[in-house]
Symmetry: C2
Subunit: 114 residues, 2 copies
DNA sequence: CTAAACCATGAACAATGGTCTATTGTTTCT
DNA sequence: AGAAACAATAGACCATTGTTCATGGTTTAG
C-alpha cells in the first residue's frame, strides 16, 4: 500500500511516517513502476504504526521503538529480542507505578490543604 | 535554603531548578544580604521539585506542572484547582491504561512469532 | 486534457526540556 | 590572604520529535 493509505489507516501522518522510516522504525520498498518512485508499504507497517502511536503516548521514545523493531527483526537472536522487550516491559511497569505515585500526590493535594 | 542545597536534596540540578523557576514552576526571593544576590528557596520548593521529578518521569509536561502549581496557588479558586488537578489525574490514569496496552502488545510479541 | 490529489526528497523551521559557557561577584576553608 | 566552592544572569547550544516548505514529478477524476 502507498503512504497515503497507510497514513489514513494508521492515523499517523505521512510526514511522521516518513520521519519514522528515516529513523529505521519501518521500511518500504520502491514499487516496480517504470514511471514513478512511489514507495510500497506492507501490512505489518500498519500494525507497527498502530503500536507506535500507543507506545509513544505511553512514553516510549523513538529510540526505544527502534530497539524493539530491531530486536524482532528476522535476523536477530530470539533470546536477545526477548531480553530487550522484557526490559522495556519492566521500564513501562515502573513508569506505571510512577504514575500511581503522582496520582496519589495529586489526590492528596486535592484533599490536603484546607 | 540556597540553590545548591536545594539541588542536592531534591536531586534536581541547579540548571534545571533555574529552568523551572524561569518557567514559573517555583519561585524564590532574593535574600536580604547586602553583599550578594543569592536567592532563597523555601521548604515547599523541595516538595515540589520531588514531585516534579516523578511527574516528569510519568510523562507530564512542564506546562502541565505549571498549571497545577498555578491552580494550587493561594490566590486561586479552590474549585478551579480541584478541576484542573482532577483533569490531570484522569489523563494520567488514561496514560496508565495505554501502558498496559503496550505491555500486552509486547508480551504478545514475546510469545507470539515463534 | 487538465485540475486536483498524490508522491518523493531534502532542507529548513519549531517547540520542548534541558545543559553548558562565559562573566562576574561572594563565601568559606585553610 | 588565597584557593576552592558557590551563586547570578544571559545567552549559546543540544537532542528529540516532529512539521512545513520548496521543488518537481505522477496519477486520477471529471
Amino acid at each position: 500500500m502507498r503512504i497515503g493509505e497507510l497514513a489514513q489507516k494508521s492515523g499517523v501522518s505521512r510526514d511522521t511516517i516518513r520521519f519514522y522510516e528515516r529513523n529505521g522504525l519501518i521500511t518500504s520498498t520502491v514499487g516496480d513502476s517504470e514511471t514513478n518512485s512511489y514507495r510500497n508499504y506492507k501490512e505489518d507497517c500498519l500494525v507497527w504504526l498502530q503500536f507506535f502511536a500507543g507506545a509513544r503516548e505511553a512514553g516510549m521514545s523513538v529510540a526505544d521503538l527502534r530497539s524493539i523493531v530491531e530486536a524482532t527483526a528476522e535476523s536477530c537472536d530470539r533470546d536477545v529480542a526477548r531480553a530487550v522487550i522484557q526490559h522495556k516491559i519492566e521500564e513501562l511497569k515502573e513508569r506505571a507505578n510512577q504514575i500511581v505515585d503522582v496520582v496519589q500526590f495529586l489526590e492528596k493535594t486535592l484533599s490536603g490543604p484546607k
